[in-house]
């Protein structure tokens, strides 16, 4: 057991306690949490500072407005409903199209309007929000993800999670939905995580349920070696989010839309640690190094470049 402990230390793996004590408590001001916990506010902030996000079709804030639902989506064939305060991808409902008077969900189920309205009511009453306080339901553009990930996704939108520390991207992984995760891109729900080489934007190792894997469990396609387009642009976008929220230790979830390019999906003030397993690389040394940096470049693009070069062996 102490052998494992030693090797974890040697690999510089950040544990939950260290993440909370040394990074989140120290760099993330509590008062800024609502900015990222409320997806609606994040969206407004991002739009205001010119960061690309999926278009908002409408917001349902009170139970009475649920009746306005069909009016909101009358111009849109497909859309996503999500709680503004949802955590861990819960409460997100993706509608991919319509059939007769029903709605087709991304897992193939057909929902009636009644079902959807019940789901919205649940969101409003705070079922999916942290602490159960009343919530809002966002209805927004459904991302048509880049064909790059077609072979390694099972019904859902893969996204790219990047950890941004003091505005510098330090680690990335792409999260691929599986049958088990029910189209959601959360690792603990069964999604596959694949590490990304910061320099090249090429996928490296993959994990599923904390096990290293080579092929996607549902599609069977090889995961490693995919090159993510607009890589530097994507990292720059992630780095920009630091200014947006003011959080020192931040998780940025970006999706690649086939037409619109990288879009910021959401921000996370307490990003998970599995990204280290997906990259087979501990973050602790890099984070400590950045913590000691006296000067951080002002432009997001420079910070993205710094993040890409910091990791090279001569820097460590």
């Amino acid at each position: 057991m102490f052998g494992i402990l030693g090797r974890l230390k040697q690999s510089g793996v950040v544990g939950m306690n260290q993440r909370n004590a040394d990074f989140i408590l120290r760099y993330n001001k509590r008062s800024l949490y609502p900015l990222v916990d409320d997806k609606l506010r994040t969206k407004y902030l991002a739009t205001a500072s010119g960061i690309a996000v999926p278009e908002l079709y409408g917001v349902i804030e009170i139970q009475h407005d649920v009746t306005r639902f069909s009016e909101m989506i009358k111009d849109h064939e497909d859309f996503v409903i999500k709680p503004a305060h949802g955590s861990g991808g819960s409460g997100i409902c993706v509608i991919t199209g319509r059939l007769n008077s029903r709605y087709r969900q991304n897992n193939g189920d057909l929902l009636t309007e009644e079902d959807i309205k019940y789901h919205v009511s649940n969101i409003l009453s705070g079922l999916y929000s942290l602490g159960g306080q009343p919530d809002q339901a966002l209805i927004e553009y459904r991302v048509k993800f880049d064909p790059l990930f077609e072979a390694v996704s099972y019904r859902g939108v893969p996204d790219i999670r990047t950890i941004v520390f003091r505005g510098i991207p330090v680690a990335s992984m792409v999260r691929l939905p599986t049958r088990m995760s029910d189209g959601k891109a959360n690792l603990h729900q069964g999604a596959v995580g694949a590490g990304i080489d910061m320099k090249t934007g090429r996928t490296t190792h993959a994990i599923w349920q904390n096990y290293p894997i080579e092929q996607h469990p549902d599609t069977g396609a090889t995961i490693s070696g995919l090159v993510i387009p607009h890589w530097h642009k994507l990292l720059t976008l992630a780095a920009q989010c630091h200014e947006l929220a003011g959080l020192g230790y931040l998780g940025v979830d970006v999706v690649l839309d086939r037409e619109l390019g990288p879009l910021v999906l959401e921000l996370n003030a307490r990003p998970g640690l599995s990204i280290q397993i997906a990259n087979r690389r501990g973050m602790s040394r890099l984070l400590e190094k950045i913590a000691k940096l006296e000067k951080i470049p002002a432009s997001a693009s420079d910070r993205a470049t710094l993040g890409q070069t910091l990791l090279t062996p001569d820097h460590l």
């Binding site: 057991m1 090797r7 793996v13 939950m16 004590a21 069964g190 096990y211 290293p212 087979r280 501990g282």
Partner: protein, 510 residues
């Protein structure tokens, strides 16, 4: 800097906590643990009888009065609706119970708690009046005279003289000339008294001492009799069976030179039973009363000065921080996931009442049934708060149902299910079913068994009686617990479960 501050604070908290505790142990003399306590004797006299119909009942029971070598800590009577009067005079104390009418079997109790205390003030022996020679019946006079003469020849002083008399009387069965005397004397109850009567023939002052040998878990149906003779300076005790001098060890004197005995009017099948048991809990009171005697007032401001029912609340309350420490340890050091932060403590508190095995069984039963009902309600598409309220209502009904079924099955411990915190149970059911839906049954079971494990460990920690005693007698030790919690608050190392979670690193890295 921040770390130094924390270490300093933790150090000061430990210092204050341990210092205060040390003061209490060293100066006031509070015992450190329950096992260190001195012996306390719990003596109970139980009068039982069957009341005769239509007749008033009067019970008389002699009571001990300042038994030498013991301090009385507590004394009480359990006498239902009997009138109770206690009469005290130079000879001793007597309890009178009375009731105009009663039916069937009746029991009356007298209980005294004694603490062995050699320093207990002994009344100085008052020189008795030397008795006059009694007028013996004519046919017995020569026999007694002969007996006394023989004893006088074989003895040197009062004590040995009395011993010879006792020996002769006990051996009387084999001596034909004493048979007549024996017939007069030989009734155990009055043997001691008759010995005094015979000794008076030699003008030796004597008296009868009655009492009990204090031995754990002993029952006596009568007090034991000893004869005391006055040798000119003090009273000397003699065994009436063999004349041996001295009272047995642990002998508690109930009555001295008091002719009054247990008696009852208006009842049949009456008996008195004395029960002796060793007890330990009350000794803290000894320290309390002693410290008051010696002029320390700290004890007056301790938790022991509170009313007993409030004390019991605090006995539980003071253990909660220990449970919280367990939760911190299990979550941050071990890395076990639970539903809600302190839900396991509340479950653990409920376990105190239900006992562990039952607690776990009932918990599983209620949560399992609750989940089934919750799954049914799910179909009705209710809003969150009404749904929670509905599940809560069903949980209450479930608990009531379980109680009734358990009672009918004769499983009385099942009744304590009512002590489960129902709101917490409801939230557990709700969160578990959500986790079930979102993360699958495996994750839900993982979390619920994690909660249960932490609850069990919390219960075991909170139920260690040494800790219960320690935290109640030395509440300042909670400062030490606080210091440990603060230090754990800055622990940034790995959790035990993370060694497993990140095991891929251990395998693939050189």
């Amino acid at each position: 800097m921040r770390k130094l501050h924390l270490y300093l604070l933790a150090f000061i908290l430990c210092l204050v906590g341990l210092g205060l505790a040390y003061y209490k142990v060293a100066v006031i003399g509070l015992p450190l643990s329950a096992s260190e306590q001195a012996e306390v004797w719990d003596v109970e006299a139980r009068v039982s009888f069957r009341a005769k119909p239509d007749s008033a009942i009067k019970v008389t029971l002699p009571l001990p009065l300042d038994p030498p070598g013991y301090s009385v800590l507590d004394e009480d009577f359990v006498s239902a609706d009997y009138g109770l009067a206690i009469e005290q005079d130079n000879a001793g104390r007597i309890a009178h119970w009375a009731k105009r009418r009663a039916q069937g079997k009746q029991s009356l109790f007298y209980r005294i708690v004694l603490f062995e205390n050699a320093e207990a003030a002994q009344k100085p022996d008052v020189a008795p009046v030397y008795p006059k020679i009694p007028e013996y019946p004519e046919n017995l006079t020569p026999v007694i005279k002969g007996l006394l003469d023989k004893a006088r020849q074989q003895s040197a002083d009062t004590v040995s003289f009395s011993q010879r008399v006792i020996e002769q009387l006990n051996a009387a069965a084999s001596m034909p000339e004493l048979k007549l005397l024996l017939k007069h004397v030989n009734q155990t109850r009055s043997l001691a008294k008759n010995m005094g009567w015979i000794l008076a023939g030699a003008r030796i002052p004597s008296r009868i001492v009655r009492g009990l040998r204090l031995q754990d878990n002993k029952e006596y149906s009568d007090l034991e009799y000893f004869l005391q003779v006055y040798d000119g300076q003090q009273w000397r005790s003699l065994n009436i069976k063999d004349g041996r001098e001295g009272l047995p060890p642990n002998f508690m004197v109930w009555q001295i030179d008091d002719d009054r005995v247990f008696s009852i009017e208006g009842a049949a099948e009456s008996s008195v039973q004395y029960t002796v048991a060793r007890a330990l809990q009350e000794t803290i009171n000894i320290a309390g009363s002693r410290s008051a005697e010696r002029g320390f007032h700290l004890m007056e401001f301790s938790l022991y000065s509170l009313p007993v029912h409030v004390q019991n609340v605090y006995k539980v309350l003071l253990m909660v921080p220990l449970g919280a420490l367990m939760v911190v340890f299990m979550r941050n050091i071990i890395g076990i996931r639970t539903f809600g932060t302190f839900m396991p403590i509340l479950i653990a508190l409920a376990f105190r009442e239900t006992e562990l095995l039952w607690g776990v069984t009932l918990f599983c039963l209620i949560v399992g049934l609750g989940l089934l009902l919750r799954a049914y309600v799910e179909q009705l598409k209710l809003l969150l708060v009404p749904r929670l309220a509905a599940v809560l209502t069903m949980v209450v009904l479930l608990i009531a149902g379980v109680s009734i079924v358990m009672h009918k099955l004769g499983l009385e411990t099942g009744l304590s299910v009512a002590l489960f915190p129902i709101v917490i149970m409801t939230m557990t059911i709700e969160r578990m079913s959500l986790t079930w839906e979102e993360a699958g049954p495996a994750e839900a079971f993982k979390q619920v068994s994690g909660s249960l494990l932490v609850a069990v460990i919390g219960y075991l920690a909170m139920n260690i009686s040494e800790f219960q005693y320690m935290f109640f007698a030395f509440p300042e030790l909670l400062l030490v617990v606080l210091a440990i919690i603060l230090l754990l608050g800055r622990y940034s190392g790995y959790r035990l479960t993370e060694l497993w979670r990140f095991r891929a690193f251990a395998r693939h890295k050189p």
